[in-house]
């Protein structure tokens, strides 16, 4: 009897806490939109586009199909740059892992090249690669590469060496060890890297589009700015935010599936 009573109290508590979180989120959203509206009314439309105007613009952009063309263009560059960066950023630590000397030789150069202001390279990249997708792709790749390289390396360094010894004794080949033990162990680090890197990739693409482009979310923001269309700028920003949130949601879903064996998720439940 007592057990059942306790259990149901705990369940009610949990449900209540979940509602509290949803309620809190909603309250924050309302406060944010009201502040936004207040800003538009006091500062004027040039500085602040009213939320309803922005919403209307997004609907118009969606109806004309312009929004989807822009999103597709931005996503094309982001995803391609991201894929190249992810491939190199994960592969390189796996190759370097075998040799401490090679790692120590290469590391300072990688760190130094991290200091390069990537966006400042843009004019020079345009000179090299023209005004197509290529210069943007290079910037996105560079921005994302370091994040994944560093998180992957941190993950490899954190692998439990005892698991590797155990696998060797059992007769696992180095390939099996890399694939099963090292890769799975570093997945939590990898997903952390993904969550930082993907919004950066989208941002980098949008900044790239400011400079050179004929389409894309960045291009539509820049175009609106040139004609002092604040509503257009805001609409572009909201679309970019929605894009990043959607991608993050997908990454979270994949993460939850890939890391379902981890005990931490349960302990961290609200």
């Amino acid at each position: 009897m007592t057990d059942i009573a306790l259990e149901s109290t705990a369940e009610t508590n949990l449900r209540w806490r979940k509602w509290a979180i949803h309620g809190g989120r909603l309250a924050l959203a309302i406060a944010l939109i009201l502040g936004w509206e207040y800003g538009a009314r006091t500062l004027g439309r040039l500085f602040f586009a009213p939320p309803l105007d922005v919403l209307e613009r997004i609907v118009t952009l969606a109806r004309s199909g312009q929004m989807f063309t822009d999103i597709a263009a931005t996503m094309r560059v982001s995803a391609a740059g991201f894929a190249i960066a992810a491939f190199c950023g994960v592969l390189l630590p796996f190759l370097l892992r075998r040799s401490l000397r090679a790692t120590e030789a290469v590391e300072p150069y990688i760190m130094a090249s991290m200091g390069i202001p990537k966006y400042a390279l843009a004019p020079w990249l345009i000179l090299w690669f023209g005004i197509g997708d290529l210069p943007k792709l290079v910037v996105v790749t560079l921005v994302v590469f370091y994040i994944l390289y560093i998180t992957t390396f941190a993950g490899i360094r954190g692998v439990d060496q005892r698991l590797i010894s155990m696998a060797r004794v059992i007769g696992a080949s180095e390939r099996v060890i890399a694939r099963e033990i090292i890769w799975t162990s570093l997945l939590p680090f990898f997903f952390t890297g993904l969550k930082i890197a993907f919004p950066r990739a989208v941002s980098a693409t949008i900044v790239g589009e400011f400079l050179v482009s004929t389409e894309g979310v960045g291009r539509s923001i820049e175009h609106a700015r040139q004609i002092s269309d604040t509503t257009g700028v805001f609409a572009g920003v909201v679309i970019a935010i929605a894009l990043v949130l959607a991608i993050n949601g997908i990454v979270n879903l994949i993460e939850r599936f890939a890391l379902r064996w981890r005990p931490v998720e349960r302990d961290m439940e609200i």
Binding site: M166, I170, V176, P263
Partner: protein, 268 residues
């Protein structure tokens, strides 16, 4: 008398000093020195020693995870020890199994998949192997927990999983490094009984390291006593208690008190 399966000859080990402490000092102290013993095929050998006596180091060297600094090891007629870390052959072709002090289960694999891991990497995962894995899981009382992840199991259950993960691929020799040290006394007795049951099924050669004298007597045919560092064999005792043994009542068996007293006198 069965043939000698493993022979350890004048084994010595010292670890490389850390660079910052190394300047102009004498070489690192010996952890193990002049240690010799041999194990017969099918024998259950226990090794007792105080904490820090280099017991794990000894097993790591036999399992070929670590190199020896002196002496040699002959396994199944061939010298297998080496001074070159890159020439190590851990588990020498799957003929030496190793149950470590930490269970070292893969946290992303369920009980069953952890047990099958060895067979999987060895490319021997057929219906027969699966059946054997399931039989072992039932024997140690893990039926019903096949789909659980390690963090969902108790300490004793994890130990059992680690044990049968090694037993399932049937290596002729198994090293065990205080595998039951971290569980409560009652569970430990049960695990010891389980181990003896499993051992009676196949009579593998086992080298079982422990700091618990009672455990050494309950399980072994013969017990070696290690000295403090640098460790060598301080004494050897044949356990006079006949098999099959009831681990739970080991204290009451004739001869237990006497052998316990003698081993304790030798353990420093």
């Amino acid at each position: 008398m069965a043939a000698t399966l493993l022979e350890v000859r004048a084994l010595g080990k010292r670890f490389a000093q850390r660079q910052d402490r190394d300047k102009g000092r004498e070489p690192a102290p010996w952890v193990i020195k002049d240690l010799s013993f041999s194990v017969r095929d099918g024998e259950f050998l226990t090794i007792v020693g105080p904490s820090g006596a280099g017991k794990s180091t000894l097993l790591n060297i036999i399992a070929q995870i670590d190199i020896a600094s002196a002496g040699e090891i002959v396994f199944d007629g061939a010298t297998v020890s080496t001074r070159d870390p890159r020439a190590l052959r851990p588990g020498i072709d799957r003929r030496i199994g190793y149950v470590t002090q930490d269970d070292n289960l893969l946290p992303w694999r369920s009980t069953l998949d952890n047990v099958l891991f060895a067979l999987e990497v060895q490319g021997r995962l057929d219906a027969q192997a699966r059946a054997r894995a399931e039989m072992l899981i039932r024997t140690v009382g893990l039926a019903g927990f096949e789909r659980y992840y390690p963090h969902e199991l108790s300490g004793g259950m994890r130990k059992r999983t680690a044990l049968i993960r090694t037993l399932v691929y049937d290596p002729p020799m198994i090293l065990m490094d205080e595998p039951f040290a971290a569980v409560d006394a009652q569970t430990r007795t049960q695990l010891q009984a389980d181990l003896l049951t499993l051992w009676e099924l196949g009579r593998k050669t086992i080298i079982f390291v422990t700091h618990d004298i009672t455990e050494a007597i309950a399980l072994g045919d013969r017990a070696l006593v290690l000295s403090k560092q640098p460790s060598r064999i301080a004494a050897e005792h044949v356990i006079p208690i006949p098999r099959p043994r009831n681990v739970k009542d080991i204290f009451a068996l004739p001869g237990f008190a006497a052998i316990h007293e003698r081993i304790r006198a030798d353990v420093q």
